[in-house]
């Protein structure tokens, strides 16, 4: 099985879906921007509480945190929501008939969605920077790898919740809760030793260092990069294991095609 053909098919499907659901895509982006505006308006009072690693309380740090949070939500919800919507639409079982295995179809969906989320989130970032007048350093060579490392944990959560959705179906309440949990992961100070083992936390710090301080990838502490990678990979692995267990349960109970 040629995975390139599968990736091409999934990529084209996602692109077509984005075009067909353009109004929905734009409106969700606008709503995220409006949330930021509300946050910005209350920033002065909130700034004492919003901490992003070494940049505690700064507006720049908040922009970076919001930027990473938006990426996280996109990554997490794309995977888990797409599983739910495929099950609702009745196409999930057809994807399970792919000879490469459903996990590869899921992986292609995740990569495609990451690529497609770059444009709207960058637009959002520019909008946030223009609104606040704080222009951050956008070194994509450093940013993209760091974003991928940071989002590994979010994808892990996506796999886990997607798996739970296969078995328990209506778990939308979890999605709302997870959005707030991710905020917690982003604002927890990484000077606390245990915080380094939380998803997103160290990665978010590194991204802040690049975007606010103008550091390059190779100037960042190697230890922190390795920690962020290991923690992200561990959460991704746990998410995939939970997904596999739930998939087994769903297949045993005949739940794949149900919603």
């Amino acid at each position: 099985m040629n995975l390139g053909t599968v990736f091409g098919a999934v990529f084209r499907r996602e692109l077509t879906m984005i075009r067909r659901y353009m109004v929905n895509s734009i409106s969700s982006l606008v709503s995220v921007y409006l949330v930021f505006i509300l946050m910005f308006m209350g920033f002065q009072s909130m700034s004492n509480y919003v901490k992003t690693g070494a940049l505690e309380g700064s507006l720049e740090g908040t922009i970076v945190g919001f930027f990473v949070w938006t990426f996280t939500i996109y990554a997490f919800s794309d995977l888990s929501w797409s599983l739910i919507s495929e099950a609702q639409a009745g196409t999930l079982e057809q994807l399970y008939l792919a000879p490469c295995g459903f996990k590869w179809v899921g992986a292609c969906t995740v990569i495609s969605n990451f690529i497609f989320s770059l444009v709207p989130i960058m637009v959002l970032l520019f909008a946030m920077m223009a609104t606040t007048g704080k222009w951050l350093n956008l070194d994509f060579v450093s940013l993209i790898p760091l974003l991928l490392i940071t989002l590994l944990g979010a994808y892990g959560f996506g796999f886990a919740l997607g798996g739970l959705a296969l078995v328990f179906k209506r778990i939308q309440a979890f999605f709302q809760i997870m959005q707030f949990v991710f905020v917690g992961f982003l604002i927890v100070p990484t000077r606390l030793a245990w915080a380094k083992f939380l998803p997103l936390a160290v990665g978010n710090d590194l991204i802040s260092t690049v975007m606010v301080d103008g550091a390059r990838l190779w100037e960042l502490p190697l230890n922190d990069i390795l920690t962020a990678t290991a923690v992200g990979a561990a959460y991704l692995a746990i998410g995939i294991v939970i997904f596999s267990c739930c998939e087994n349960v769903a297949k045993s109970r005949g739940l794949l095609g149900h919603y």
Partner: protein, 324 residues
């Protein structure tokens, strides 16, 4: 068992659904059958007979409790999911398609998942669209199509994957008579032209009679009949009798007949009482005559009843239930 000629071999397939502490339902009970390459086999049965569960267990969408599935000589479990390159399916009760994508986009997407995406493959997709009269709907979003066209598109997407073994679970469900006839005709044509193996599950007896060479009838999770359609029809044709009596039915006749011959019926016709009876054994005709003689019934007319797949099916299912 000749493995090399078999497209599919199912052995001792069993699947039980457990409902917490409230009990369990054996959906598939020790099912075993083979399908030869190029054969078109119908899977018939009432709701809950286990047809869809059997198909989903073969496809790996459900995990059976026990049993063994071989596809073109390869063990399905050890070669999963690679073995799926040899199978495709239209599944009952599912949309099977992305409604926001066009007919062509759906075909390209699902066939690419099977690695089928060459220019020659695309020419074949065009051929399928022509065959299913969907050429002018090629660039129309599926949500804008009628139910019949959506169903035909689902079948095209399953066929476009060029898998040698195709499962069609209720392919004519919700279709009008005309579309159902069209679909049947195309399936017949494809099975002849391409030599692919089809397993067609349906409630629609006409589809099975029209398209399939062999039929497997399931009831309560078990296979109760596995025979050639023509042989089965001949068998039942010789067993089904229509007897017209002179005058109304004598009292107690219907009760006696129903007791002796499962599925018999007595109705009052214009000429006299009309009896329909299915005789399962050769000597049953003598028992029938004894009963009629016993109630002083005068036979005016006796003939074989016209038989179709629906009657065969009903007779098999009735008989099966009477044994339980």
């Amino acid at each position: 068992m000749d493995i090399t000629r078999n497209a599919l071999a199912v052995e001792s397939l069993t699947k039980t659904f457990r409902d917490g502490g409230r009990g369990s339902v054996k959906a598939v009970d020790n099912v075993a059958f083979q399908v030869e390459q190029g054969e078109v086999v119908g899977l018939l049965g009432p709701n809950g007979a286990g047809k869809t569960t059997t198909i989903k267990c073969i496809l790996g969408l459900m995990r059976p409790d026990s049993g063994h599935v071989t596809v073109f000589g390869e063990d399905a479990q050890t070669n999963y999911p690679r073995i799926l390159s040899k199978m495709s399916a239209v599944l009952e009760g599912s949309r099977n398609l992305y409604w926001r994508l066009t007919v062509w986009e759906n075909i390209l997407f699902f066939s690419a998942l099977h690695g089928v995406a060459s220019p020659a493959d695309k020419r074949y997709f065009d051929h399928l669209l022509k065959l299913f009269s969907l050429e002018d709907k090629r660039n129309v979003e599926v949500r804008k199509l009628s139910q019949g066209m959506k169903q035909k598109t689902s079948v095209v997407c399953a066929l476009a994957r060029r898998a040698p073994l195709v499962f069609l679970d209720e392919p004519t469900l919700g279709l009008d008579v005309e579309t159902s006839l069209e679909l049947r005709s195309v399936l017949r044509e494809l099975s002849c032209e391409e030599g692919r193996t089809f397993v067609v599950s349906s409630h629609d007896m006409a589809v099975i009679q029209d398209v399939c060479q062999r039929v497997i009838i399931m009831s309560e999770g078990r296979i109760v009949v596995d025979d050639n359609v023509s042989h089965l029809m001949d068998l039942f044709r010789t067993r089904c009798y229509r007897i017209v009596l002179r005058g109304p039915a004598p009292e107690g006749l219907e009760k006696r007949l129903v007791h002796e011959f499962v599925g018999s019926s007595v109705a009052e016709g214009e000429q006299g009482a009309e009896i329909k009876v299915n005789l399962s054994e050769d000597e049953d005709i003598y028992r029938l005559m004894d009963i009629l003689r016993g109630v002083d019934g005068v036979i005016d007319e006796i003939s074989h009843e016209e038989i179709d797949m629906e009657k065969v099916y009903l007779e098999v299912v009735r008989k099966e239930r009477s044994f339980q």
